[in-house]
């Protein structure tokens, strides 16, 4: 296995150009997801789904004094390629798998469209494409990685807001960047998804944010539900025993 790679998306550098969205669509032949006007600042993409694998969020907030007007928070969201990936864990066909780069990819020739991964994802990333019937999401450009290339979104990003590389290198760089920002007085800067002890055991795509995660549409404390699977099976075992005993008890007593 080659070293694990991922994305570090530094949202302080994002200028909202959406080159990542376009590059992703072009390289991966991701279909049209509608020509929409959403009226949400400059966001007319909406969300990550089967046909959107990079999504730039635009948040308008009151500008910091002495400036007036508004300020923007912009962030390019993507599949987190979790260390503990619930979508992969619950996939019953083995279609979702962990690549040699440590990323999580759907094998489209295997997926039978059962849809279990969709409610399993704590970030709401993976989704079904209709009428195709299968689920689709970011592959972290598996084909480009195979060819030793940078993923299309990171390649296209003009400000290096999207950084691609070995995950441990990115984590070190991100920690440095946060302390640099704190030194400049940007105390609201924080990392999201970089902690290997979090509910998904660290995301392969993590972020530097300037506000709470939910402001960007990210869950504050995502957990891969499969962490609790053995205790869930134990509860089901107790319920199953009660079921067997209850039905056996129905046969005890009078012959009628």
């Amino acid at each position: 296995m080659t070293s694990r790679v991922g994305f570090f998306t530094d949202t302080t550098l994002c200028i909202g150009c959406k080159a990542c969205e376009v590059a992703c669509k072009e390289w991966n032949h991701v279909p049209d997801d509608g020509l929409n006007f959403l009226g949400r600042s400059y966001d007319n993409t909406g969300e990550l789904n089967a046909d959107t694998w990079r999504h730039v969020a635009f948040i308008e907030q009151p500008a910091l004094a002495p400036a007036t007007g508004i300020k923007w928070l912009m962030s390019s969201d993507v599949c987190k390629h979790c260390t503990r990936a619930a979508c992969l864990d619950v996939c019953p066909t083995g279609s979702l798998f962990r690549t040699e780069f440590g990323t999580v990819v759907v094998q489209e020739d295997i997926c039978n469209g059962c849809g279990y991964c969709i409610p399993a994802c704590p970030y709401g990333v993976i989704a079904k494409r209709e009428p195709d019937g299968r689920v689709w999401k970011c592959t972290l450009c598996y084909d480009r990685l195979k060819g030793g290339m940078t993923p299309a979104c990171a390649q296209a990003c003009p400000t290096e807001s999207i950084q691609f590389g070995p995950l441990d290198v990115l984590r070190g760089r991100a920690a440095e960047r946060v302390s640099e920002l704190h030194g400049q007085g940007v105390t609201e800067a924080r990392l999201y998804g970089d902690d290997p002890n979090d509910g998904v055991e660290g995301a392969g795509a993590f972020f530097l944010l300037l506000d709470e995660p939910e402001v960007y549409g990210l869950p504050p404390d995502p957990v891969a539900s499969t962490h609790r699977l053995s205790s869930m099976w134990r509860t089901a075992g107790t319920a199953g025993a009660a079921f067997a005993l209850g039905l056996a008890a129905a046969f005890v007593g009078r012959r009628s």
Partner: protein
């Protein structure tokens, strides 16, 4: 809850334009219908097994046949729901303990043929020893068959499902028992259906109690079970289940009331499965159910850290 206006506005933690954080499941009605059919089959096979051992030949035979029919229907529901139905056999290319759906696939793939074989032996009288062995296998797998679907739901990021992980298996087990007793009542003359009546009544009471306990322990996350479409389904389910149980308990020795009571209980079990699935959708659609509990969890963790 229904009909009451909320006096205090619901606390909506900040979200991105009010957009859901989670994706709603995209299962059609086939999936809750399968949960019902699978639970029904699990209960019927267990009733059939005990009936065999106690010499209740007619109850046994008809329960085995009804169970096989429920499994046939349920399996076709599962295939119908797939985005690529022609690839249903891809479920069989791996056995993954981390996936409740994979575990369930293998439970269904063993429980189904065992039940079918027991039914065949019961109807034809052929191969009685094979029939007995198959019946034993079906009865042994039935508790897993009745409860794995609850783990399938609780092992997700959906708040109304995952936070019900302590109670949902009991609700599904009781719902399976109630439905099986009810259908056994419908297909068997009243004089022979005593154990089925007891199963139906005990199962119904346990199901209604289990749902109450689940809603109680969910706290604010019980709202999706009380409100909207899921709320309507859930209260309908409770009325049907308890009404049917009362009819069976009081008038169950007479054929016509027994059939009516059985139908009410079975409909209640079916409605409860739809209610649970709909509540999951509602809880995924509203970002406050995702953000609120997670923020509370972070705050609690921060409080213990200092």
């Amino acid at each position: 809850m229904k009909g009451e206006r909320r006096m205090v506005p619901k606390a909506t933690p900040t979200s991105y334009y009010g957009q859901p954080i989670l994706k709603e499941h995209v299962w059609k009605g086939w999936i809750p219908a399968y949960f019902f059919a699978g639970g029904l089959a699990a209960g019927l096979s267990t009733i059939a097994f005990h009936s065999d051992r106690r010499g209740r030949k007619r109850l046994a035979r008809r329960s085995w046949v009804a169970s096989t029919a429920a499994l046939g229907a349920g399996t076709s529901f599962l295939i119908a729901d797939l985005g690529r139905p022609s690839r249903f056999h891809h479920m069989l290319r791996v056995a993954k303990p981390t996936s409740p759906m994979s575990v369930g696939t293998w439970v269904l793939s063993t429980f189904g043929p065992a039940t079918g074989l027991a039914a065949l032996a019961s109807v034809t009288g052929w191969l009685p020893r094979v029939g007995r062995a198959a019946g034993l296998a079906a009865a042994a797998l039935a508790p897993a068959m009745a409860t794995y679907t609850s783990v399938l739901l609780t092992d997700t990021a959906v708040p109304a499902w995952s936070e019900a992980r302590g109670e949902l298996p009991f609700v599904f087990a009781a719902s399976a028992m109630a439905a099986a007793g009810a259908v056994a009542i419908i297909v068997t003359p009243a004089a022979e259906a005593g154990p089925a009546r007891r199963a139906a009544v005990i199962g119904s009471l346990a199901e209604a109690a289990g749902v109450r306990v689940m809603k109680e322990s969910l706290g604010q996350l019980a709202e999706p079970y009380h409100e909207g479409h899921a709320g309507d389904l859930s209260s309908t389910a409770e009325t049907l289940t308890l009404g049917g149980a009362a009819v069976v308990a009081l008038l169950g020795r007479r054929r016509i009331p027994a059939v009516m009571g059985g139908l009410l209980i079975a409909a209640g079990s079916l409605a409860e499965r739809f209610a649970v699935v709909a509540a999951g959708s509602a809880s995924a659609r509203d970002p406050s159910y995702t953000v609120g509990p997670q923020k509370a969890r972070l705050a609690a963790r921060a409080a213990t850290a200092f």
